[in-house]
């Protein structure tokens, strides 16, 4: 009996301490990568379009907007600084769960060239590998991508090894359910609207090929997709870059020439068709597209794909209820994201989607539009020129598609006087009423040139 008790105590000790280690491992790890991937694995309906690539892609393609406007089921599995080699294994893993008809891959991976030994690589790999379940594929992926850095391998199988230092950086959201920060089907949003310079345009077939680590895996991706019957679209998301960089990104053209399942589109060359204006479609200090830019790119891709593929519309029929729930969660998630905005440009950037009706009253357009960003943001939404030319007060509303635009108008003569007089702040430079078309929830916010009031 005594011996049995001792053995039992040993087993309990080992089990409890192992459990503690697992708990700490989960607690300290960054949940962003894994939670998106988990959602992808758990999605019941098929994924027809899969977006992959770098931060340009996760900020540039918004699957929920594609879903809402075209009924296309899409998911975005891109992560920051993702190399094509990681893309490749991410795809291999993703195909275990969903085999899409189309895979849209961001071209920025070509920029990494032969940078296999870049010290950034191990950090960047966490975005994908943390979310992949333990499997022979994961072991193979880690060993291959990090073949020169075996000392980092434990990080991907035992997350505490890498993340335990996060204890001093924990924030409120680390103690919340990570799922509440993940309703965009992998699409993520950048903050800090920026006026970015337009890139120098280069023809798509003007490229400089190089046989390197990146091109090797870019090609492997196309071959893998061909085996699975998936069409690959290498797309270059707009960002301010020079001709030399574009010639590197255009390497995808060679893959298009070589493989019949591969198409290359340099979206920078289609900015006018897309309505992509570098004065209001960039954020994050001009390095990534803003939400407005992303919705315009997504819209363009939706239109493009709809013409070529006969996708199931998941907004109707048996899937309608699920869709409604997903979209409601998504708008609630967007509401939370908007609360973090520090400027009215940032806020409005995340307002202009068909999910909302809205009214904007600007007391002094000359001040509010001094950088021309506000005018550009509104112009595209309303297809009006007044936003760009007005100098005094200005009013713009889009109530379920019914657009109204006026300048030199008193607030009392607008929706702010009639319905929201109590919430309207006469001292504010910009007042915004936001109305959720589905839930009916209304939010009013007031802004000065410096920020939220």
């Amino acid at each position: 009996m005594d011996k049995f008790k001792k053995v039992l105590k040993c087993i309990i000790t080992v089990a409890a301490l192992a459990l503690l280690t697992c708990f700490l491992s989960y607690f300290y790890m960054s949940k962003n990568g894994p939670i998106h991937r988990k959602r992808f694995y758990e999605q019941k309906k098929p994924v027809d379009v899969l977006f992959m690539g770098t931060s340009h892609a996760y900020g540039g393609y918004q699957p929920m907007e594609l879903y809402e406007k075209y009924g296309i089921s899409a998911f975005n599995l891109a992560t920051a600084g993702e190399r094509f080699a990681v893309n490749y294994y991410s795809l291999l893993d993703a195909f275990e769960y969903h085999v899409p008809r189309v895979c849209v891959i961001d071209c920025h991976g070509f920029e990494y060239g032969n940078e296999k030994n870049d010290p950034e690589v191990p950090t960047r790999c966490h975005g994908i590998f943390d979310g992949m379940p333990m499997s022979a594929l994961k072991i193979r992926a880690v060993k291959d991508v990090l073949s020169d850095r075996p000392e980092t391998w434990p990080e991907y199988f035992f997350p505490l090894y890498y993340y335990h230092n996060r204890w001093s950086e924990l924030e409120r959201q680390d103690f919340e359910d990570p799922a509440v920060n993940c309703y965009g089907k992998g699409g993520r949003i950048f903050y800090g609207m920026a006026n970015a310079p337009e890139p120098e345009l280069v023809a798509e077939d003007d490229y400089v090929w190089e046989d390197d680590y990146s091109t090797e895996y870019a090609e492997k991706i196309v071959q893998l997709c061909r085996e699975k019957g998936v069409d690959v679209y290498y797309m270059c998301i707009p960002f301010p870059c020079d001709a030399k960089a574009q010639r590197v990104l255009n390497r995808a053209k060679r893959l298009e020439e070589k493989y019949d399942n591969c198409t290359y589109i340099n979206l920078m060359n289609h900015a006018d068709e897309i309505g992509f204006d570098y004065g209001c479609c960039m954020s994050d200090m001009g390095s990534h597209v803003s939400f407005t830019g992303a919705t315009r790119l997504t819209d363009y891709i939706g239109e493009y794909l709809k013409e070529r593929y006969d996708f199931t519309d998941y907004r109707t029929g048996a899937d309608a209820a699920e869709w409604e729930q997903e979209y409601t969660d998504y708008t609630a998630y967007m509401d939370r994201l908007r609360e973090k905005c520090e400027t009215y440009q940032d806020y409005l950037d995340k307002v202009f989607t068909p999910a909302y009706s809205y009214a904007v009253y600007v007391s002094d357009m000359k001040t509010a539009n001094s950088d021309k960003m506000l005018g550009k943001l509104i112009k595209k939404e309303g297809e009006r020129d007044l936003a760009e030319s007005a100098e005094g007060s200005y009013y713009f509303s889009n109530l379920n598609g019914d657009i109204c635009e006026e300048s030199g108008i008193e607030a009392k003569d607008t929706v702010f006087g009639a319905e929201y007089a109590g919430s309207y702040n006469p001292e504010a430079l910009v007042n915004i009423v936001l109305y959720n078309n589905r839930t009916g929830e209304t939010k009013v916010s007031s802004w000065s040139a410096e920020g939220r009031l």
Partner: protein, 487 residues
Amino acid sequence: MLFNSFSFLIFFPAVALVYFILPKKIRWVWLLVSSYYFYMSWNALYALLLFSSTLITWLAGILMSRFTGKDPGSLRKKKAVIAAGIVLNLGILAYFKYFSFLLNNISSITSRFNIPLNLPQVDIVLPVGISFYTFQALGYAIDVYRGDTPVEKNFFRYALFVSFFPQLVAGPIERSGSLLKQVNESTSLSYENLRRGFMMTLCGYFLKVVMADNIAVVVDTVFGEPEKYTGAYVVLATVLFAFQIYGDFGGYSLIARGVAKMLGFNLMGNFDAPYMSASVSEFWRRWHVSLNKWFRDYVYIPLGGNRKGTVRKYLNVMAVFLLSGLWHGASWNFVIWGGLNGIFQVFEGILGIGSKKIKTDGQRIFRVIVTFVLVDFTWLFFRAGSTAKALSMLSGVFTDPNLWVLFTDDIFTLGLEMKPFIAMVCAIFAVLILDIFKVKGMDLYLWLERQGFLFRLTVYALVLGAILTFGAWGGGFNENTFLYFQF
């Protein structure tokens, strides 16, 4: 293979599992194989040195056992054998550890007198743990010579005594009377040993990765750029270094003892709340106990100890501590470090400090603080890397005593941000509090063993949680080598 490496966390459970599965008769063979594997994980060639040291001292023992007679001839032969054993064994150590030092010094002296001497520049890599196993093996040979221990006829069992992996590379330096005896008796799996060993190991890891390795970040920053960090920074870093080296070496020793205990072996305690000492002499009875006992038994007493008058006693103390300094490193700053410790003890002897009875707690606290200041002063020479650097840093303390930095956020720019810095300070206090209990005569392991299982489990979980959370380990960290490995 470091104790705080991933590979050791796989190696040890595997070794222990197989050890207890094997029949008792051959368990020691498995330990010998494992110990050599452990040592060869640094460099397979180093095993040749370990083997040589083992062979020399074993053969010396065997030969000496043949000269048992009391006649002058036998005694002379016995003396010749032990002398040869010591010379050969120390010769290996001297070559690897002191040859470059010797050449540099000869070169430095001759150049001072403008004597052209083209000595070769040699860069000899010091094999890990060589000072420890050389001393352990020498201790055995001397014990056999003195007749304090029986000769071990089985070479492989003796090889296990020299290479036993928990204490191979940084001690404790065991005696043949204890460890060799245990090697010859097979050990059994015991819950009590597992429990005690696990507690020791856990505490050792706490000392090493939570306390020592976090402190190392700050200490390395300051000592790495002494021209940038002066005055109060030097004082802070030197105080912290006292705890770093304690956590590092004390942590290693505890892990070694814990790991050995789980296998059923008892290794001697190497640290006994050293910073609670009320005199430098007491400090040296509590710090690196196994080395100091070695020096006492094989150097101090043979030199005459305190039996040949006061002056001779002080000379013997100085000799021991200068040798101890040299043992720690082939550099003058280590000799000065050892010399200072010797001088402090001589002064204590002259002033009669060590023999005076402490009457009040206040008196004890005062003396503990003074002792810490004296010992910590010597650590500056130990850590600085060179005498010139140590003196330059020391002068900076007085010429630019920028004390205010200790009260600003500047101290959080030394490699640890505020939260990790606070965690590090908390770890130091936790260790000091436990040491206070220790000097008050409380056996914390025994106390914990007497508590209920759930309470004990909670303590394990808290300590493990602290190690996993606050410890300097994993990605982004190089497993910090234990400081004493270089000796």
